[in-house]
Symmetry: C2
């Protein structure tokens, strides 16, 4: 403790003197953060450095000294003072009870954070990007373009449901004994590499006791987890982020949205609707997605705390949003081809 | 129109044939997207390519063909098929009425988006990062660390208010005639580079007819806009994002939050409170920020549509959040020093 107190007094003194030095370089009393009696200032600085609720004040004062120091016009003085500032900051941050010491981390989530995993394990985990989005924000366009740019698979609602429909109709028409020539996944040693989506879907068609919607949800959830062990992909909606987290499978979750008025305008254009109908459609589809998400996850759809990141696509447009997401997850993509 | 129809029929035929080719390579009927009569399939594909509300189906079908193609085990076939797929996709995207043609862009906002500006004008604009945050999510720690990593100034509430308090007390004690030796900004040719925050603040101390809180808000808003023309900085709260947008000054706006329970835990630790008091404090401070933002902007605080990006700090922790934001805005930072 005594040793710590000594260190703190030393740091407080150095910071006080640095402030005086900045003042000297700037030649204005307004450039000075600590204007009281030297001993008093050092004592209260030391108190701030000793921890407690007020350490955020220390951070602000440090920032103020640093901000002032950055305005020093003389180059040599600037470099000297900033070096001292950086050193003092570093030593203060190394104190046991200073600001920034208590991190905010959801340990479970961080363990499943693909961006971080990549640094740790390199190629061991698959890149899975879960995208939730409001209607009309071009989220699906962004997801498709992102998958294309990253050269990975893309799954949206239509893909899941069209494959499901086909499987159901094939099963209705199929003879009782289905041979492994038609459904290769029934063959214990399939000739090819990894199975395709329809093969997997046929395999995961269970949960017969449930309501159709629930059965579909649980089938798709199983499917998403299974695919996640085998390939990289972008998946739109389906609460995939929560499903993967519950199954402890690393991924990235992104929510895309845009201001309502802009989404209405876009729906008017893509669907050829007037404003009133476009607004109604938008609200209806948003409500449907919101209750789907809430029903299966118990969480609030579109609330930033439920995703790694939220993106306002109206600030970027489709192409730049793709670039931004790729940059966030540290992936190189080719510049978009000019068709 | 006829020429367009011809092109569409050609593309539809090529896509149908590519699907058949993928099927041949995979040797499974499940690998096939188009299973009906050849002419019928091509006709409905052509209809999808001609535009209208259903073009999103075309995108899903393309993705399905692409996903299937990526499972082709034979390397040479894979490369050949994927090249054809990429080419067809490119040509479909060049059609006038296909999916992804209607972008989602807030033209005003995009013009003020610093990330984009940087590509256009390089060094002409200052890097201003506005950070909103809920209480306890370590947002201020992230902002401070980000400013430090980018070597730019940092402004938070405490800095603004401590400088304001000092100015007020100095003005109370000051003689009536304030000389330019004490307040150098009164000197029309100040000797130094750009003015420091207290100099600027003294300069912007107007709006005397308003309530104190409003006067403070408008003074700070003027100040932020003025600083934004002169320097790079990180600013916490103060509705700076909206203030800058209203004044057409480029910037980046980020909102940082984390799940309530994790924020409570962190506040318990940083403030030495029990759970009940920590929760109450959190709700109180969140409510205060929320009504402040709503009062001065008319917008909903923390709603992703009001920011460029939202970040869940619990998914990353302080250090990784700083890295992530720096990466998003395409800025190099030094790896954090081990103190």
């Amino acid at each position: 403790m005594d040793q710590n107190r000594e260190k703190i007094m030393e740091l407080a003194t150095r910071l006080y003197d640095l402030d005086a030095e900045v003042y000297r370089c700037l030649g204005s009393s307004l450039g000075r953060v600590y204007t009281g009696r030297r001993d008093d200032c050092i004592e209260s600085l030391a108190a701030l450095m000793s921890g407690g609720r007020q350490t955020y004040m220390l951070r602000s004062e440090l920032a103020l000294v640093g901000n002032m120091a950055r305005t020093i016009p003389d180059k040599a003085s600037y470099v000297r003072v900033m070096a001292q500032y950086d050193q003092i900051l570093k030593e203060i941050q190394a104190l046991p009870d200073t600001f920034g010491k208590v991190d905010i981390v959801d340990k479970d989530r961080v363990q499943l954070n693909w961006i971080d995993l990549k640094n740790r394990f390199s190629e061991n985990d698959h890149l899975i990007i879960c995208i939730g989005r409001t209607q009309g924000c071009a989220g699906t366009d962004i997801g498709f373009a992102l998958a294309d740019a990253l050269k990975i698979n893309f799954y949206d609602t239509e893909i899941f449901s069209s494959v499901r429909k086909r499987l159901e109709s094939e099963q209705d028409n199929a003879p009782d004994s289905i041979g492994s020539d038609v459904y290769p996944f029934l063959n214990p040693n399939p000739p090819q590499g990894h199975p395709t989506l329809p093969q997997l879907m046929a395999n995961f068609n269970r949960y017969h006791g449930l309501l159709r919607e629930d059965a579909v949800f649980f089938n798709e959830s199983d499917l998403i987890c299974n695919m996640a062990k085998k390939e990289d992909f972008v998946v739109m909606g389906r609460c995939a982020d929560v499903v993967l987290a519950n199954n402890r499978i690393p991924h990235i979750s992104v929510f895309i949205t845009a201001p309502f008025e802009l989404r209405v305008q876009r729906i008017m254009e893509t669907h050829g609707l007037d404003r009133k109908r476009a607004s109604r459609l938008l609200r209806q589809l948003d409500r449907r997605r919101s209750s789907y998400y809430h029903f299966y996850t118990g969480r609030k759809w579109g609330d930033p705390v439920n995703y790694d990141l939220c993106l306002n696509s109206a600030c970027y447009g489709i192409e730049k949003s793709v670039e931004l997401i790729a940059r966030m997850i540290n992936q190189q993509i080719d510049p978009p081809a000019q068709a």
